[in-house]
């Protein structure tokens, strides 16, 4: 019997097992529309936190192109120019695939370090997109959000792990 490719395994999974990560990420993106009004970009990018948590927890779950539809939805929710999260999330997923091909082993702290870089890259990238399309505040104004996002990453991984147990429960 030949081994199944990851996409063949995915096709065999029940609907819930395939839908939960996508729904969770979209719900996290939609958190940006909570009735909270702030002077500064303070709320961490919840959609990205969820995406990274799933990607680190289950590297075989998604192909890199999943960043496009999920990023589009995030752009619509967050008020960023359309294309911003689409491009940035896909770059991050492609880079993670590249690093997975080279890494020999990877533990929890590697995951957190990688997530830290990815979050810093996406927040700074989102800031650059705003600076390019309109005008952005100084990069310093983004630092509190960056710190908050990085500190929330372990919680995001835990939430994804809980959802993963629900996803694969019989």
């Amino acid at each position: 019997m030949s081994r199944l490719a990851p996409e063949e395994i995915r096709a065999l999974l029940p609907l819930r097992a395939r839908a939960v990560p996508i729904v969770a990420t979209m719900a996290a993106s939609a958190l940006a529309t909570l009735p909270i009004v702030t002077d500064m970009p303070l709320l961490p990018p919840f959609g990205l936190l969820m995406l990274l948590a799933w990607r680190l927890l289950r590297p075989e779950l998604w192909q890199a192109w999943v960043g496009l539809p999920l990023g589009l939805f995030d752009d619509l929710m967050s008020g960023q120019p359309i294309g911003s999260a689409m491009a940035l999330w896909t770059i991050v997923l492609l880079a993670l695939d590249l690093s997975d091909n080279r890494a020999i082993w990877q533990d929890y702290w590697h995951d957190l370090l990688i997530a830290t870089f990815a979050l810093a890259f996406c927040i700074a990238g989102g800031w650059m997109v705003v600076a390019f399309t309109a005008a952005a505040p100084s990069l310093l104004a983004m630092v509190p959000q960056m710190v908050l996002a990085i500190l929330l990453m372990p919680s995001a991984i835990r939430i994804a792990a809980r959802l993963d147990r629900f996803r694969l429960a019989r």
Binding site: A5, P6, E7, A30, A32, T33, L34, P35, I36, V37, T38, D39, M40, P41, L42, L43, P44, P45, F46, Q63, A64, W65, G67, L68, G71, L76, M77, S78, G79, Q80, P81, I82, G83, S84, M86, A87, T90, I91, L93, L94, D97, G126, W127, V129, V130, A131, F132, T133, A134, A135, A136, P137, S138, A141, M142, Q145
Partner: protein, 276 residues
């Protein structure tokens, strides 16, 4: 989809994303229908969000009251808590009453209003400073219209859905408002700083025109914003520039009035903010 085809799709989509960003730079109104539909979709949800928060707080209080009932002095405590809650409630009502009265006065005094709306959300995770209003094109709101609250200028509409609209705050780094220094009448440009403050630049040479506590109001130049709407108070005065705090604090803001464009027929020389 195979692994290789997946990568091809990802890279192709990445290029599409970059093209969309470039489109947002060079042709801002692109996809405004899509974006308007998205804010329409979530506006009623966020509108109801406040009610949910209140309901959750209420039910938590009920659970706490159940536990206290077991205690000896439950009745006394409950009465005290109830009267305390009622006192807070009365204070909140009093405050809201005062605000609504001020708004009613404002609405009566501004015949150029288009709609009165609630602020239901903001782009709290993005570097842009936009808030969402609970009215849209169905109420006559159009792109470019100025928005104010009882305290002062809020910003201008940059996107409309059918029942929602996005407003570029005066504190956004791409917002510039022609204004004047109320004390001397000196023309001033008020540009957002992106972190809740406003940069003020005097348009005439002169030694240190700003003083702490000076009021900045719209001048009506450019024909978008009606004159005489307060914008900010100077908190830091430098030689020819100053930093101000907006009078309409967006974090406190709950009701806003959308106004007509002041003189729409004028060709607008004011630096218009570039929106997505």
């Amino acid at each position: 989809m195979g692994l290789f085809a997946g990568y091809v799709a990802a890279v192709a989509g990445l290029l599409v994303g970059v093209i969309l960003i470039a489109l947002a730079r060079f042709h801002p109104p692109a996809f405004s229908a899509l974006r308007g539909a998205a804010t329409d979709l979530v506006s009623p949800v966020t509108n109801g969000g406040r009610a949910v928060v209140v309901a959750v707080t209420d039910s938590a209080d009920e659970v706490a009251a159940y536990w206290n009932a077991g205690a000896q002095n439950a009745t006394l405590r409950r009465e005290l808590a109830a009267s305390r809650a009622r006192l807070v409630e009365a204070r909140v009502l009093h405050y809201e009453n005062a605000r609504l009265k001020a708004l009613a006065g404002l609405v009566a005094a501004t015949p150029e209003r288009v709609a009165v709306a609630q602020v239901v959300g903001s782009t709290a995770s993005s570097a842009r400073r936009l808030v969402t209003l609970s009215v849209g094109a169905a109420s006559g709101v159009r792109r470019g219209q100025p928005v104010r609250s009882t305290e002062g200028l809020v910003g201008r509409v940059i996107e409309t859905g059918r029942i929602s609209a996005r407003v570029l705050l005066v504190t956004d780094a791409s917002s510039t408002v022609p204004a004047l220094l109320v004390r001397t009448g000196l023309p001033v440009l008020a540009t957002g700083h992106g972190d809740g403050r406003i940069d003020l630049r005097a348009l005439a040479a002169g030694a240190a025109p700003f003083r702490r506590g000076d009021l900045i109001a719209t001048s009506g130049t450019g024909g978008v914003y009606p004159p005489g709407i307060p914008i900010a108070v100077v908190t830091e005065a430098h030689r020819e520039t100053a930093v101000g705090m907006p009078l309409a604090d967006p974090a406190r803001l709950d009701y806003a009035v959308v106004l007509r464009i002041f003189e729409p027929d004028l060709p607008s020389p004011a630096p218009a903010p570039r929106g997505p």
